[in-house]
Assembly symmetry: C2
Homo-oligomer: 217 residues x 2
DNA sequence: ATTATGAATTTTGAATACAAAATACATTTT
DNA sequence: AAAATGTATTTTGTATTCAAAATTCATAAT
């Protein structure tokens, strides 16, 4: 009677992923209007599933709906960025704590790998690559934590994505030469199952971004 | 050139509020399918804006889309409830801290008013009314905090709403006779601008719900 | 030359349309 | 009677349509 259910799917999620990707790699720029007809044509679909995807993104605050005027890629003020990082502080602190409790050997290897390429470099200049690594790092920790969370509630907040909309240096607030140390220490704490330290370090890491931001206000 | 813009609006948000309300007052029950045609007719609109609203609710996890099968009101397992409360712990802790910093005289009065009716009662039996007060209390704190957050990022998570989907006693996990004291102390701390204590008490309050929940697992 | 006006064009919000899939119901088979 | 099958009905996902609103662009007025 109940389903060993074949799971079907609809276009919503695929289109959502695509558009989100376009925002993340700056094919769609903050502040710019999203051309519905054009985009839909490019993807070979009608406006209906595109609008569905935009609704998701609107809810994630990655996109803004201006009624009768269309959808725009969200552009954050410094003040809003501070809010985003305050929320990240507590949420990713929780992620780090939980990740430390449930991480597997394999995931630990993955986590350690991300910043491997930068260990021997003493001045990091490729911001784009480092920004990608940074995001990957924070996302992976959220993913690991979310496995045991059973729901993937944490990622749906998507607060991490918002953070990279900062207008300079590929969304990086502090210089890679500084943050690389934070990242390595956090990774160590998580891999050593030291949940208390992991939470503490992650919070401090994000708090540093906040002080940096408030300086520019 | 730029707008002192008249702000227009569309049906999405109104329909969203309506459907959300129906879920909150249990006119639509957890696990039950949402009858689109019927609902749309009742509201005097087409399915288009209703579906838009359901997409929002899906993203908030208040509703679940089963492709080719429709939308269902979300039913949470105990494990998922624990996750929800872990997230509430850190997020509402942050809210309480910020609220304590920015609360006005007027808002303080409002906050103190919510549990006024229960001060003289020594056995609270109207769970429905108390549940409403409880939600109002947590929401108000989030609102106050969000004013200074500039974006209303915090409420959009809507994690608070999820919490009341718990299947017994109108979504209340601990008995009102116990929680009333927590609430009064939290309100006091916030009204006295004691942000540290406010955060600590709010966290403890939610942590108690978590232990209660884990007992039943 | 800038600013204002207004028609022409494009875009939006929402209803409607419709094929494909799911569900409900009746009928037949075991 | 229970299970399986087939048919009718309903519902879903997506495209299409269309009026109302916004934008663009050309022209006229200051």
């Amino acid at each position: 009677m109940e389903n060993l259910a074949i799971e079907y799917e609809n276009l919503d999620q695929k289109v959502y992923q695509l558009v989100k990707g376009m925002i993340e790699n700056r094919q769609l720029l903050p502040g710019k209007k999203i051309p519905q007809e054009k985009l839909a044509k490019e993807m070979g679909i009608s406006r209906t599933p595109l609008i569905a995807a935009l609704k998701f993104l609107e809810h994630e605050k990655l996109v803004e709906a201006k009624p009768r005027r269309g959808y725009y890629v969200r552009l954050f003020s410094i003040e809003e960025m501070v809010s985003i990082f305050e929320i990240r502080e507590v949420l990713e602190g929780l992620s780090a704590r939980r990740a430390a409790k449930v991480i597997t050997k394999d995931e630990a290897r993955q986590l350690q790998t991300i910043f491997q390429p930068y260990l021997s470099v003493d001045d990091i200049t490729d911001y784009q690559a480092y920004s990608r690594a940074d995001r990957q790092f924070h996302m992976l920790i959220a993913d690991i934590a979310s496995r045991e969370f059973l729901t993937s509630i944490l990622q749906t907040f998507n607060i991490i994505s918002l953070a990279y909309q900062y207008p300079t240096r590929e969304g990086l607030i502090r210089h890679p030469n500084e943050t690389i140390h934070d990242h390595l220490k956090i990774a160590d704490a998580i891999c050593n199952h030291d949940s208390e330290t992991a939470e503490k370090l992650m919070r401090e890491h994000l708090r540093s971004a906040i002080s940096e931001l408030t300086k520019t206000m």
